[in-house]
Assembly symmetry: C2
Homo-oligomer: 263 residues x 2
């Protein structure tokens, strides 16, 4: 099993604090040492840092931790290999283009007897069940909606339907983003915290580090952080339930608009 970390904000925000704790789980405070990756959207553009070294000791992870890249949507993943060797091409998150947007996907879980009917529109480069699932998801969206992005509610409904079907093969916790929305789907383990004014002093579980968010934010900032296991030990974290799909935009969960129609 792997670990996921996502962030969705209304203003570009750096993830250095959360990543500092998350990084330690890649080989130090936890055993997810088979590579890691992180994707930062900056408007339509996207930077993806991948490494098949353990996150806890990776030079690239040190850069990410120390160099504040400000982003409204971030997805990170640390890997404990189940399907597919420890190799760069099997490292999450995966990146493909659909509708003139980059899509970033990271998965936690294992799918068994899973061999989706891929027509070649998107083909996996590596050997993971996760990348196959991502290719199948994008193929399904393209079949369903053609070459133009649909309204968000239809899109979310299609994701929910695909996830329900795919989860018949096993555990399917995933994060997905196109730089606008961040979708978090839970099979068994995924939780989130929404930060807004008045901002707390947050303290990491994995390192003895605290940050006073009030000092580095404005009163209008909103940030949602989604993780497999809570990263802080003094904030209220909301657990998603099995089968639940949460949609975040501008740093807040869209409880009433989109997901009420689909969950």
């Amino acid at each position: 099993m792997c670990q996921l970390l996502g962030m969705n904000c209304n203003v570009p925000t750096d993830i250095c604090f959360s990543f500092a704790g998350f990084q330690q789980r890649g080989g130090r405070t936890d055993h997810h040492a088979d590579g890691w990756g992180i994707a930062f959207f900056e408007n339509r553009g996207c930077r993806v840092f991948l490494d098949h070294q353990p996150a806890a000791t990776s030079a690239v992870a040190r850069l990410v931790r120390e160099y504040p890249i400000r982003s409204k949507n971030v997805i990170a993943h640390i890997r404990k290999a189940t399907h597919g060797a420890v190799a760069l091409e099997n490292t999450h998150p995966f990146n493909r283009e659909l509708w003139g947007r980059y899509w970033i996907f990271a998965h936690n879980g294992t799918l068994t007897d899973y061999d989706p009917d891929l027509d070649g529109t998107y083909q996996p480069v590596g050997a993971t069940d996760s990348e196959s699932a991502f290719c199948h998801l994008l193929q399904t969206l393209r079949e369903r909606f053609g070459l133009v992005a649909p309204p968000d509610d239809q899109f979310v409904l299609a994701i929910q339907h695909w996830a329900d079907q795919t989860a018949a093969h096993g555990t399917l916790n995933f994060l997905l983003s196109d730089g606008e929305l961040l979708l978090a789907r839970c099979s068994d383990k995924l939780c989130y915290v929404e930060r807004r004014a008045p901002f707390p002093v947050a303290h990491l579980v994995d390192e003895d580090v605290s940050v006073d968010f009030a000092e580095v934010t404005t009163p209008n900032d909103r940030v949602a952080v989604i993780a497999t296991v809570p990263l802080t030990d003094n904030e209220t974290c909301t657990s998603l339930t099995p089968g639940e799909l949460a949609v975040f935009r501008h740093g807040a969960r869209l409880c009433d608009e989109l997901t009420a129609k689909s969950v």
Copy 2:
């Protein structure tokens, strides 16, 4: 106009020496300060580092220079913006998947009155002529060969044909790789050096740095370095001629096998 750097090798090799000189052209020894990017293939996987900061002062560029990532195929680009704002989504090299492989493309030149007939298979995310051309190239390959990669000679011929047609719109120097082959297409400025035993002591044009490759290689190593302008001042660089497409594999130009049929 931008600058290109490519490397193709028979064993995984770091590009730190060449990149040290190339990086200086991104704002110090030359004026290409509108972002930069570099892609490293590692087997089928690929890492792409992008930054819209000038390469000469970028923290990510410093990491790339100091952290030896060993790769058999590398493509780098420093940008002087012509079409499209200075933004991450307009930063080369671009990355898409075709035939279950990642394809990396970087372009130097400007295409005018260029509006290729894109059917949506690949859609640009940014606003550059270069990314449109790359999307059109991949669409053309998929139309021509379907969902399975063709033999190399047919593939190279198709690239040559596409490049000849596209170059009617302007300057089309580009580098393209799938991690196996590296293709270099010249409109007006592109040259290469092939290094093999006995290895030279090479000296950079842009920095007073030398390296004795004999100390860091084995007698069987072969490395081809392709650049817009020579990076070293004491090696013999072969200039490509306008319209020429050079194909490199295992650190050597394939003069007789592939390109003889197409040039």
